[in-house]
Amino acid sequence: MSVRHALLALLSEGPKYGLQLREEFEARTGEVWPLNVGQVYTTLQRLERDGLVESDDAGEDGPQKGFRITADGAQELAGWLRTPPDLSSPPRDELVIKVLVAMRLPGVDVHEVVQVHRKYLVELMQEWTRLKEDEADYDLPLALAVDAELFRLDSVIRWLDSADGRLRRAAGDPPGRAASPVPMPMPRLRRKAGVRR
């Protein structure tokens, strides 16, 4: 999510002052995303430069300066809302790499490593859930943001569960067959990733 587009979205509701923009930004992202003042103003200046917003007057910069969105800005916002985020290429996931390493390292129980991560993730989810339980009734943006975080963590746990099961089955299979997919996972992954990038 870019701060740029968030500010455009806020301005599409009507002209706003700089300070107001910052407060509303934080409120709408459920205070999950703290923002400093400088970031807001830098972004606003860039937007103005690109002709996506215009300010009241060329007077002093500061919290009392008003901004409004331009036609170009509105077009830019509409286009951005419909542009899918870049999900097609796998991120270089540290967790995946850790499990892949643990799997081949002698003297390390990969299941134990998996469980450490799982436990940590569940604890994290517990905290998010508690936050949602306490606050979400009054705060819709917060609930949405927490849900996103929960689903993301959940998907990681699911991957851990599935990896756990796959490793277990591989261990149960005769070694000859189990050995073959294991030796060369990283180069292949890297090659694939490399092609995309």
Binding site: D93, E94, H117, K119, L121, E123, W128, E133, E149, R158
Partner: protein, 246 residues
């Protein structure tokens, strides 16, 4: 007060080569007011743990104590009475008896315990009202949505003076909004002093618990420590997990 305590509980099924150790030396205690999630993959023995904790099955060895009372040596009828008075169940998809309205379903454990129908109905209506289901009281189960059915099931599980709420994938067949509503009810019950156990393979569901117990191959593999509370999240932003590099 410890509402539920399992001491070195084991459960075996079958004999000889077909013998299955569903549970091995499980120790677990749930305090009043606490919600404990039991997480594990299929076949880890989590449903067996629930049925043993709820006196529906006897352990092969070990002892189950409910509200400090040992289950071993109880007759079938004594256990039935214990279930009527102290234990509430919520299962995944089948909870309510067809042919009885929501209010009658909720009143049923009370009536089974010898409370006159009219009085049981008053209590059941009060419980439904607390759970925001008063307008559904005279509906039959097949006239309720899935989420409403589970919420009525929870009402039935906590009606009266239940001390123990045992749930097995209570949101399994629901979408996340309905699932959340159900879990909020479970949490609310626990806040009033009920000890809750939720058995699931779903981390989102388990994350509602105060404590998550990981079950693997019939053993307790791990458990989470009580979370520090939501303030920590806001104070420092999302913490970096050891492996979830972003």
């Amino acid at each position: 007060m410890t509402a539920l305590e399992l001491r070195r509980v084991s459960k075996d099924y079958g004999e000889g080569p077909a013998e299955v150790h569903a549970l091995r030396d499980i120790d677990l205690s749930v305090e009043a007011g606490a919600l404990v999630a039991v997480m594990g993959p299929s076949g880890s023995g989590k449903s067996t743990l629930l049925t043993i904790a709820g006196s529906l099955e006897d352990p092969t060895s070990g002892e189950v104590l409910i509200g400090g009372t040992a289950l071993s040596g109880m007759s079938r009828n004594d256990k039935a009475r214990l279930r009527r008075r102290s234990i509430g169940y919520v299962f995944q998809d089948f909870n309510l008896l067809a042919g009885l309205t929501a209010a009658e379903n909720v009143a049923l454990p009370l009536e089974l315990d010898g409370i006159a129908a009219r009085k049981a109905r008053v209590t059941s209506m009060a419980t439904l009202e607390e759970l925001g289901l008063a307008d559904r009281a005279s509906r039959f189960p097949d006239e309720l949505s899935g989420g409403e059915r589970q919420r009525v099931a929870i009402a039935r599980a906590v009606v009266g003076e239940r001390r123990l709420l045992l749930t097995d994938e209570p949101t399994g067949a629901l979408d996340s909004a309905n699932g959340e509503a159900v879990m909020r009810l479970v949490r609310a019950a626990c806040k009033r002093g009920v000890a809750g156990v939720v058995v699931t393979h779903d981390a989102q569901l388990a994350s509602w618990a105060d404590r998550v117990v990981f079950l693997r191959d019939g053993r307790v593999a791990d458990q989470t420590s009580p979370p520090p509370g939501p303030e920590s999240l806001l104070a420092s932003g999302p913490r970096q997990a050891p492996g979830t590099g972003q």
